[in-house]
Amino acid sequence: MRIRVPIIVVAALAAAATVAACSPAPPKSAGGGSGSGTLTIATTTDVVNFNPLVGNSRTDDWVTDLMYPRLLTIDANGNKEPYLAKDFGYSNPTTGYYDIRDDMKWSDGQPVTAADVAYTINAILKDKPAGNTTYGQMSNVINATAPSATKVELHLSRPDSTVISEVGFWMNVVPQHVFAPHGSVATFPNNSNWVSAGPYKLVSAVKGQSYTLDRVTPYPFAPNNTPTLQKIVYRVYPDINSEILALKNGDVDLIGNSLPPAQVKSLQTAAGIKVQEAPGLGYEHMAFNMTKKPLDNLQVRQALADSVDYNAIRSVVLQGQAVTTGSSPIPPVLKDWVDPSLKEYTYDPNKAKQLLAQAGVSNLKLNMIYSLADPVSSQAATIIKDDEAKAGITINLEGQERNTYLANTASGNYDIYLGNFAIMDDPTTNMSLTYLPGGAINYSQVNDPALSSLITQAQATTDKATQKTLITQAATMVHNDVYDDVMYMQNLYFAYSDKYSGFVVKPSELLSLLDPQSLANVKTTG
């Protein structure tokens, strides 16, 4: 047995050496403040990039939101609320402004200033970081300036009523003195020596495994300017099942991702676990590609819309955890905008057959694409297929891997698009993306001058009442002409250990219980 020994010894030594190289060093000192405690949050996706201007995955947003403040946040009713910006608006039709707080500090002692905000905006415009959401919303922004330490001005090429609230909500402000020395923000990985404006700051990152953040003081949105917990740890669980087991087992305290609908009930009754509902801020929809015949025919689209039992989808796939939007693109969570007069398309396969006959269409075969990475869409798809079959329409399901799906949506290579619009925070902006010709997510490829005119007028006016009238008209048009088939808005559920309380609930998976203001106020109860 001479050989077995050396092989094993060599292997064991090699393994021990490589692992020892990964051994973490204990932290030098914890952040200020008195309270202790660690909240461990599970997430299914790894952090891809630490630069919030590049951001790719949901976890990127969660982690960087704790370090780089947004100017605005959203309350439970979907309204924009001050965060870093105390006040915001327009001083004239082509100049928008933010007045920012003067009490926020970067963790290296420098104050958070208007210059940081202006730098961030100008850097995005100049460097066009790949995954940046804000860039697409700044098409009318010429540049940003900082006339004083607390005032930021956006200079617009034409009136744009949405840019201030959209940039305010979507953009993370980064410290100029840290980012600027690295040149282009599009290629700066920001993967060490993090500087944070609070409530927490990354202190260690182990790819594929865990991300540890320490408390930052002063943080004005926490009691006594001090975030309540000493540490936040994100841990990566690629599989949702082991993630749930880890919560039950106490390895993690909170699951960051919204729960699969079928798991909500069993976790609500599980010992030691609490489940919190949060409103969704998006909707699930089917878009009929109007550049493909016969989908350009209104009767055919009506027939497709009338053959689906939306109630069944909500009660089976979503276990009743969803509400109708009245087949309108404005979800009910946006209470200031919703139009209650719009009613959902009625489920009526016979009427659908008649409509098809009137349109002179028979033996209709269509393909429907959706992303396999989206479980809710995948499940809804099978029900839609069966429902359409009852009206004599054959749907060929094409659940696709993410990249094939992206390529096909980008090239318009589908009859029906099924997917989830995750965050619908501003109806005007979202309608411009969804229904204007050339819009980034205009999946039905609609090009109706009357609709476009309504949306562009709404974008230009800063008067909210006028804007609402225009948007309501546009939504009615989308509803009546079946330019989009919005099926429901999902309510989200989040599970956490009952050893913690004090979470602030915000809409959407992006904010949910993980919003900085929420995590800065969590209390331990056990």
Binding site: N241, P260, A262, Q263, Q319, L372, E401
Partner: protein
């Protein structure tokens, strides 16, 4: 991944076939496995006669197995038994088709190498290089780029399985061409194709039989692995799709029946196929035969 089983295959003279069969029959493991495998194929063929296609959604989601639902229900209230039965079709099809294709490619390549020594150095090197590639990650890559459908799945699995077949068949063929009767055949002036067909092919036939069982059972597990990672088709039911949907909906953590039954189906198929090949191999090998 029982590479080792393949390596110990020995050459068989045509007259030994009868002895092999009688030895095979005496091994209960092999016979039971034959019956089980036949049953699985029957289930695949006659699925529509056994149970209606899995559809119909209802309030009865994630119900444990009962009289009404033998294998319980999934997260949309569909009958898991029906899913497993219907899934047999695609799973067996993918396994059979991809292994058949892999065997054809592998045997062709191996025979060419064995018969034409000039080509053999190149072929041997290429086969070895292919074997050094990390197969599963490459399949993930190709599937993600090429898209998911039953046909691409079959092609991809076959494309990454043939080198293993070629390796074993080649070593078998190499020892066969060195046998005296091959020289005799060559001296009597037989054409290359004739010699390959008449002499070389029969000589490697036993290894091929064993390869069929092993590549197809590996294909079942590979297809399920790809499906589990979201890289399988969802147009038709397969065992992998049941597992994928159980994973996505979080049902694995709370409803054991959604994963146990499709996993068991795979286990039974793979075990019986492998046991047949082992029994066959033992039966052919006079030394390990039980007589």
């Amino acid at each position: 991944m029982s590479i080792g089983v393949l390596d110990s295959v020995t050459t068989e003279s045509p007259t030994a076939a009868r002895a092999t069969w009688s030895a095979f029959r005496r091994n209960p493991l092999g016979m039971i496995s034959m019956v089980v495998l036949a049953l699985i194929v029957l289930v695949a063929i006659f699925a529509p006669l056994i149970v209606a296609s899995p559809s119909g959604y209802g309030g009865e989601v994630l119900q444990a197995p009962s009289g009404a639902h033998l294998f319980g229900t999934d997260n949309l209230g569909r009958d898991v038994f029906a899913e497993v039965v219907w899934g047999t079709r695609i799973s067996v099809l993918v396994a059979a088709a991809s292994s058949a294709l892999a065997i054809v490619i592998g045997v062709l390549v191996a025979m060419l190498g064995a018969y034409f020594p000039k080509a053999d150095t190149v072929i041997g090197t290429v086969v070895d290089l292919c074997l050094s590639l990390p197969v599963l990650p490459l399949m993930i890559l190709v599937t993600a780029l090429a898209g998911t459908s039953v046909l691409t799945e079959i092609l991809i699995i076959a494309f990454f399985s043939w080198p293993e077949v070629a390796r074993v068949v080649r070593s078998q063929a190499l020892s066969a061409v060195r046998l005296p009767y091959m020289d005799a055949a060559r001296l009597t002036g037989g054409s290359s194709t004739w010699i390959i067909r008449k002499h070389l092919l029969p000589a490697v036939a036993p290894v091929v039989v064993v390869s069929v069982a092993l590549t197809s059972s590996r294909a079942v597990l590979t297809a399920a692995s790809l499906a589990f990672l979201g890289l399988g088709g969802v147009t038709n039911w397969s065992w992998g799709r049941i597992l994928f949907e159980a994973e996505q909906s979080g049902a694995m953590s709370s409803a054991w029946w959604t994963t146990l039954f499709p996993s068991l189906a795979m286990l039974v198929l793979v075990v019986s196929a492998t046991l047949i090949s082992i029994t066959y191999n033992d039966a052919r090998n006079p030394r390990s035969r039980e007589d």
